[in-house]
């Protein structure tokens, strides 16, 4: 890896004036409710006030970037859907028909699709960014998924998506994924970076049966064994050898958003694996990451526990595309509104806790 890009992804995040967090906590204690009674919604508002360095945390401009790419490992028969679905779904995103489109509309969020390496090139369309690292990755069960050069292209795609989000004054970044075969790549990353077993980390993906899951776990085990010596405890090298173009782009986007002072809402199984790589590469980013949900995909709950994360939602979702994050963003926006718009005890002339009658 070129020194320049390694320096870029390990660079620090902006320092913050603690006064915003302190004043947000103080305000929460003054709002007309028992202290703590809004639970995680209070934590979200306080964290966003701190990260945004604002007394009025807000999520008016949410930027969603969905990265699509294919996976050579699909030839091992690890998915219930055929590989051409990656490109077909990318077109569905561009035509407005997918879950993430509907949720983006609900949020009034911007949505762009980045082709980081779908097997067959997509027709030009509004909202499509083309930054291809290849015609899908190589089969990680046989060789490294990508070359150094390909990894660099994929990382650059993530950086650039965040630059566009910042240019549009985004106050939250959501990255989504599309890639038939990518749960296999993410499973391998959980094995490599969290020590999960292949069985613990391998699930149904888009809909494998029990036999399919067992075969997939064998493939994950093979991938892990093949690259273990080469990768050791180098998260970036694991990302290159067993990850995917979209997973690498999500990783660099997560890092660069944090470095740019932009909060990131992490989606489910795939995005969390990207975030895991990002955290291993650059632990300084951790404050900037919100984890949106526990996916129903086998291994995610365990992985989240290992990462000391709980997630806001637990709705048995397992779609990817950023859909879990976009759903959770509805609650984060409500958390901001509650923080900003509720009356204080003094404003409402309501007696406080333990006040005498």
């Amino acid at each position: 890896m070129e020194k320049q890009i390694v320096e870029r992804i390990t660079g620090s995040c902006p320092s913050r004036n603690p006064v915003f967090r302190e004043q947000a906590l103080e305000r929460q204690s003054q709002l007309t409710k028992p202290p703590g009674s809004l639970g995680k919604l209070e934590d979200i508002a306080v964290r966003l006030a701190d990260l945004q360095q604002s007394h009025q945390p807000g999520l008016d401009n949410i930027a969603i970037s969905v990265f699509a790419a294919d996976h050579g490992v699909a030839e091992e028969g690890v998915s219930a859907f055929p590989q051409e679905v990656t490109g077909q779904m990318a077109l569905n995103f561009l035509n407005g028909g997918a879950a993430i489109n509907v949720l983006a509309t609900q949020l009034g969020a911007s949505l762009e699709v980045i082709d980081v390496g779908v097997l067959n090139e997509l027709p030009d369309a509004p909202g499509l960014i083309v930054q291809r690292a290849g015609k899908g990755t190589a089969n990680s069960a046989r060789e490294a998924a990508m070359t150094q050069q390909q990894l660099q292209v994929a990382l650059q795609a993530g950086f650039d998506a965040v630059e566009r989000a910042i240019a549009h004054k985004a106050d939250l970044f959501i990255g989504g994924d599309m890639g038939i075969g990518n749960t296999t790549a993410a499973s391998a990353l959980y094995c490599a970076l969290l020590g999960l077993s292949a069985e613990q980390a391998s699930g149904a993906g888009t809909g494998l049966d029990q036999q399919g899951i067992a075969r997939k776990a064998e493939v994950v085990e093979r991938i892990y064994s093949l690259h273990q010596h080469q990768c050791g405890d180098d998260a970036l090298e694991w990302l290159r050898c067993v990850g995917g173009f979209e997973i690498a782009a999500l990783c660099s986007a997560t890092i660069h958003a944090a470095q740019s002072g932009l909060a990131v809402l992490v989606d489910g199984f795939i995005s969390s694996a990207s975030a895991l790589c990002a955290l291993k590469i650059n632990p300084d980013i951790s404050d900037w990451l919100f984890f949106s949900h526990i996916s129903a995909e086998q291994g995610h709950r365990k992985a989240m526990q290992e990462m000391n994360q709980t997630g806001l939602l637990d709705l048995q979702m397992r779609l990817g595309e950023g859909s879990g994050a976009a759903t959770a963003a509805l609650l984060m926006r409500a958390a901001c509104a509650l923080h900003n718009d509720m009356a204080t005890f003094a404003e409402a002339a309501v007696a406080g806790k333990d006040d005498k009658a």
Copy 2:
């Protein structure tokens, strides 16, 4: 209890044409996502399509009614906040400063406040409905919380709120509560109707310390013992003897909404106790109830388990007012949008599961 009102609350719910549920399930299987991958959001959309008897389930008109009343049992020292907070918070609702106001604005929902028996009468204000059953209930640790006549007034308040919601073409009913001392009443109902122990059912409410919680559990035990012989397994009589005016109104509103073909989204600790009474009185309503969240209030998780409910959210909220339900409604609306607006595999020309390439 008059025969008329007993007949009214035990009356049946509308029958439904199964075709709407079947077609909603069929549509979910055709949308461009792996089957089941939107988890509980799919279930919500299908249930609403069935209940609303519509191919396009929607939550455009959400009606929120917050019932406020005082509790004689407050004199036992069971709350961290003084009793006048009930009326002060009701005024806060009317002035737009409370959590439920902010969430209602987020939802574009209607919001009304019903004084079912706050200690001191509230000044007239737009959005205030006055239907008082008394100056707070009697102290249930010493006598029945309400007379038969008072119970009837409170039940009528619930019926009438639903009638107003229907007149405004509501597609979802949310009931909220405000009443210092009402977690004690709800705890007693969980003991009586689910067999929870006083310790299991008694929590911090608005913010008791450990000593306060222990005292409250003693009071709950005393309430339960005092009324056990009189009430037996009669849920309506338990409601009268240990409940509150707002709890009774929520109970009848829940029943009447279901009887009127209007889905109900149940809030947390207090509302679930009302729903429990409603289900015991009229089991026919169960299809019409959605449970919004697991409250952080001690005993709610256990009570929900006993009621075979999971709730959509688990955000450590414990505020009441309908706030947990209003937060969950954001997700239910997203569930409807996903159901109605996503493209099918055929529309998007995406290959389905197990299709050959």
